[in-house]
């Protein structure tokens, strides 16, 4: 039967998780801890949300030097998708849990939803759009098509990026090593067996 207890505790938690980026979330969290109740803190909002960025940022994206201005709370994936129109990189959880937003940062695979754009200053980012050589597919991309390592395709750019990174570090992975290396990328369609096949095939392609 209904416990019927009244609670007000979770609205703050709800707010934080909705705040979108880790950075904004943590700032708001701090404020709430101080004020105790966001509901009473109405007109005193401290965070100013700017419509256009004011912080200069230079980085390399898919081999091109980019100089732009961003907000301090803009995440790397927001920069890629919203400012640079590189919509190949997806966002499924915006919380560092699923791997859909995986990109390479100086060759290392990272979750771009969980990194501030400003933290990529001076670094080199490779997205799914940067893997092709002109119209020629990267061997990993070829293998994903041939082995059908995808269904809906929404997590696929992240999977492909994770596979590229895995194969850079370990050009001849075993099946178990593929499973370990790709475990940070969730595929709700459950195409895992064919993703494994794709990565193993890509490994062969790269070697030959």
């Amino acid at each position: 039967m209904s416990k019927g207890k009244k609670s007000t505790g979770l609205s703050r938690r709800q707010f934080i998780s909705r705040a979108g980026t880790g950075a904004v979330g943590s700032v708001v969290l701090l404020q709430n801890c101080v004020s105790g109740n966001e509901n009473e803190k109405t007109g005193e909002e401290q965070i100013k949300f700017k419509l256009t960025g004011t912080n200069s940022l230079s980085l390399t994206v898919n081999g091109k030097k980019i100089s732009t201005k961003v907000n301090e709370n803009t995440t790397l994936v927001e920069l890629l998708r919203d400012n640079l129109n590189l919509t190949g990189t997806k966002v499924a959880c915006n919380n560092g849990e699923c791997g859909s937003c995986s990109v390479l940062l100086d060759g290392e695979v990272i979750y771009s939803c969980h990194m501030l754009a400003l933290d990529a200053e001076g670094k080199s980012v490779t997205t799914i759009e940067g893997l092709m050589d002109g119209e020629k597919l990267h061997p990993v991309q070829e293998a994903f098509i041939e082995e059908d390592g995808l269904q809906c395709g929404f997590c696929t750019p992240g999977q492909v990026i994770a596979a590229v990174s895995l194969l850079q570090k370990n050009p001849s992975p075993t099946k178990t090593e593929v499973m370990d290396g790709m475990a940070g990328n969730i595929c709700r369609c459950g195409a895992y067996p064919k993703i494994i096949d794709s990565v193993l095939k890509a490994s062969k392609k790269i070697k030959t």
């Binding site: 979108g20 849990e97 709700r188 064919k194």
Partner: protein
């Protein structure tokens, strides 16, 4: 080829569809077996693969405009509350906020079949819509939500369906928590009590299953844009026509003024079969501010507000003769609909899977203060089959019968409701091949495996509909380069719809698949096709494509006959070229014919054929699982699953395998790790993210073998394909559960089977 119009009546989940359909007047020539075909049945790489691996595929999530504004929904933090007052004044002061709508400044728009409104003054679950903000950026819209002050009057709530069915429970709707029409549903055939009396063994057991969340990777999202009175909606949806109709009726505008487009979508699994409130809210504001509006749900909203697989609390009673004959099957079940009407039953497998004359079921579809259920990959069948197959395994053991022999003993060749034979039922063949593949004879006595990691084998069978039906249409065109375009109002959820359409057209017209362009998911550009649910897409649309392609072929032959001044009997069609019999040099290419005929003449509308009324249309299969249970940690590892199914014709071996893998892995997650966790004291959901809502990762992936025992099902259509999306997941939980029992010798009757449940079960025995 003649046409006729028929009345087509069928069920899609809980909805009765009663419609008119144009169908071919006579039966089409059947496709030969796959071994004699060049393209159908082969593992052709999906035609949209390149778009998807390069990031060029544009999903609704990626759609944008230069002057786009962003919408976000304010949702109730309480499980049950009156919305007394909404104060937006502080939020409106935030720079970048454009418009906020809520109950007090928006006209009443009915929702949930008139049981609620777009903005209801009563919030019936944590997540119910209260207000909608449109701002210059998503971050600003998020921030504005926190600045809206809502005065709620909290009410006593109830979140468990068994509790909620009690007359004293808080009433979620005025009529109570059991809706008059379908709150309590019963079914019976034969004489259940008599069957029990005449049984040598009577066994009763309770089972429970969790609420599971669809969590497709692409969140629910819409982009809306008005041009004058015409509204275009890009939506991540399994039903472009359904969304169009709901949006048009909600906004009280003509359907012809609404265009819904879905090119690519990131999964649905049933959660995207209906229009979302967010699309209508966005359209309302977009019209007013004269700007396009984009709305994307976040993962928390995905876990609260856009559907789930209902839980089940099942009590099953089985009566059997000592020779294994099933004498009686009875079920009582409670399932949560959530706060608004939905289907929450689970009785169909018990009613249809095995031969039993005496069946009685009593099911309660109960309102609870939680997110509303939606169809989720084989609704009802997943939880129902788990419980049925668990108890039948238990009964077989008590009768000292091999679980497989027990199931073979109770095989039925006819549908026991209608007494009609099945168009095809190769379940016995599936048992045989599946058992061979898994090595069923290696199965030991339950709990007898030595060591602390114990291996076990289990099986479960499956029945589902999945035969498809009219109306479904496909327009096939050929242009002067000999390229073919197929237009069809269906959707590709990631299942490979684009590819199977192209395969069928390429096979019939004998041209390379690269020459086929497929356009789907656009209400303005394509003829009607039904929503993509119920495993009906492939069996409904491929016969329409086949029909259309055959018509084009016939037109080309007719045109060649006129051009070459030869009767059609003297012509042969091969590889897109028509030539005189015995004289290959006297020939015409399709492109040459089309050039002569000018543009847009060689167009054909293909239609799905009428279903037979003399047969029941179903899919069947069995899955065998091999698991390892670590009796020290309680961890279950699924090592291998063999899936053997009768699903008619295989259209594409590669995408078929992939979809089976996905169903089995999703079923594995449902059996072992997935669970929406709600707090009894607050009525709130505790795991609304992908870290705490556990879904299978690559590390959970077992070895999977997919065996298709059917060649085609010619009684369904000339193509003979049935659906596979749902059959793939149905038997998995039962097979794994029975394998766990076989490993440890103790039954666990509550999903998900997490390590703590395994350890508790083992301690009980020690």
């Amino acid at each position: 080829m003649g046409r006729k119009i028929i009345r087509s009546e069928y069920h899609l989940y809980d909805e009765k569809i009663d419609t008119l359909a144009e169908v071919p007047e006579s039966e089409l020539t059947e496709l030969p077996n796959n071994k004699d075909l060049k393209i159908i049945g082969k593992g052709i790489p999906r035609i949209d693969g390149r778009d998807k691996v390069t990031g060029k595929a544009i999903y609704t999530f990626d759609k944008t405009f230069k002057n786009i504004a962003y919408g976000k929904t304010l949702r109730s933090p309480h499980p049950f509350a009156n919305v007394v007052k909404v104060n937006t004044s502080n939020a409106e002061k935030l720079e970048g906020v454009i418009k906020i709508i809520h109950a007090d400044n928006t006209e009443d728009i009915g929702w949930y079949r008139g049981n609620s409104k777009l903005f209801d003054k009563v919030a019936r679950y944590e997540g119910d819509e209260v207000a909608f903000v449109v701002a210059e950026t998503e971050v600003i819209a998020e921030k504005a939500l926190s600045l809206i002050r809502v005065e709620y009057k909290e009410l006593d709530f109830v979140i468990n369906p068994v509790d909620a069915a009690e007359p004293t429970a808080p009433k979620i709707h005025d009529s109570g928590n059991l809706p008059p029409k379908h709150g309590h549903r019963t079914y019976s055939r034969g004489d259940f009590e008599n069957g029990i009396e005449n049984s040598d063994l009577v066994f009763e057991q309770e089972y429970s299953t969790e609420v599971a969340i669809h969590n497709p990777t692409e969140p629910h999202c819409s982009v809306v844009n008005w041009e004058g009175e015409e509204l275009t909606v890009w939506d991540s949806t399994q039903a472009v026509f359904g969304v169009r109709d709901t949006i048009a009726s909600s906004l009280k505008i003509s359907e012809s003024n609404v265009r819904v487009i879905k090119e690519y979508m990131g999964g649905g699994f049933g959660a995207k079969l209906e229009a979302g409130k967010y699309s209508v809210m966005a359209a309302l504001v977009s019209k007013e501010i004269e700007r396009p509006v984009k709305v994307v749900l976040d993962r928390r909203e995905m876990n609260l507000a856009v559907g789930n697989r209902p839980d089940s609390y099942q009590k099953i009673k089985v009566g059997a003769k000592s020779d294994g004959t099933l004498m009686a099957l009875g079920l009582t079940n409670y399932g949560s609909m959530g706060a608004y009407s939905a289907g929450a039953g689970a009785h169909w497998p018990l009613r249809t899977l095995y031969k039993c004359e005496n069946v009685k079921t009593s099911e309660f579809n109960v309102y609870t203060n939680a997110g509303r259920a939606r169809p989720f990959r084989a609704p009802g069948h997943v939880q129902g089959t788990f419980a049925l197959e668990s108890i039948l395994d238990d009964v077989a053991e008590r009768l000292k019968m091999n679980p497989l022999e027990f199931r073979i003993k109770n095989f039925t060749p006819i549908d026991q409701d209608s007494k009609l034979p099945y168009t095809s039922k190769l379940l016995l063949e599936a048992y045989e091949e599946g058992a061979k593949k898994i090595g069923w004879n290696k199965r030991k006595t339950a709990g007898s495996d030595k060591g602390f990691i114990k291996t076990g084998y289990g099986l479960a069978s499956q029945i589902w509909w999945g035969g498809g039906s009219p109306p479904a249409y496909a327009t096939v065109k050929i242009n002067s380069e000999g390229n073919v375009q197929v237009l069809c109002g269906t959707q590709d959820l990631g299942t490979g719809t684009y590819t199977i359409i192209a395969q069928v057209a390429a096979e019939v017209l004998e041209i390379p698949i690269e020459k086929i362009d497929v356009l789907i998911g656009d209400t303005q550009a394509t003829p009607y096709a039904p929503s993509s649910g119920g495993s009906t897409t492939a069996p409904s649309i491929t016969p329409a494509v086949y029909d259309g392609a055959l018509q084009i072929k016939a037109k080309l032959i007719s045109a060649a006959s006129a051009m070459l001044k030869l009767t059609e009997e003297k012509l042969v069609y091969a590889n897109g070229v028509i030539h005189e019999k015995g004289n290959n040099s006297n020939s015409l290419k399709a492109s040459e014919i089309v050039k002569k005929m000018k543009e847009n003449i060689l167009v054909a509308k293909g239609a799905r054929n009428e279903n037979t009324s003399n047969y029941a249309l179903n899919t069947f299969g069995v899955q065998f699982a091999m698991v390892e249970v670590n009796t020290l940690t309680g961890k279950v590892t699924v090592k291998k699953v063999v899936a053997a199914h009768d699903i008619g014709r295989t259209l594409n071996r590669q995408t078929l395998e992939n979809q089976f893998h996905g169903g089995i892995i999703m079923g594995l997650g449902y059996t072992l790790i997935e669970e929406r966790v709600m707090d009894d004291y607050t009525g709130k959901t505790l795991n609304t993210n992908l870290l705490d809502y556990k879904m299978a990762t690559m590390l959970d992936t077992p070895e999977i073998d997919v065996i298709i025992v059917s060649e085609t099902d010619e009684l369904i259509s000339a193509v003979g394909a049935k659906g596979i999306g749902e059959p793939a997941i149905i038997p998995t939980p039962g097979a794994i559960t029975n394998a766990i029992y076989n490993a440890i010798g103790v039954r666990i009757n509550s999903l998900p089977i997490t390590p703590d449940k395994v350890l508790m079960a083992l301690n009980k025995e020690v």
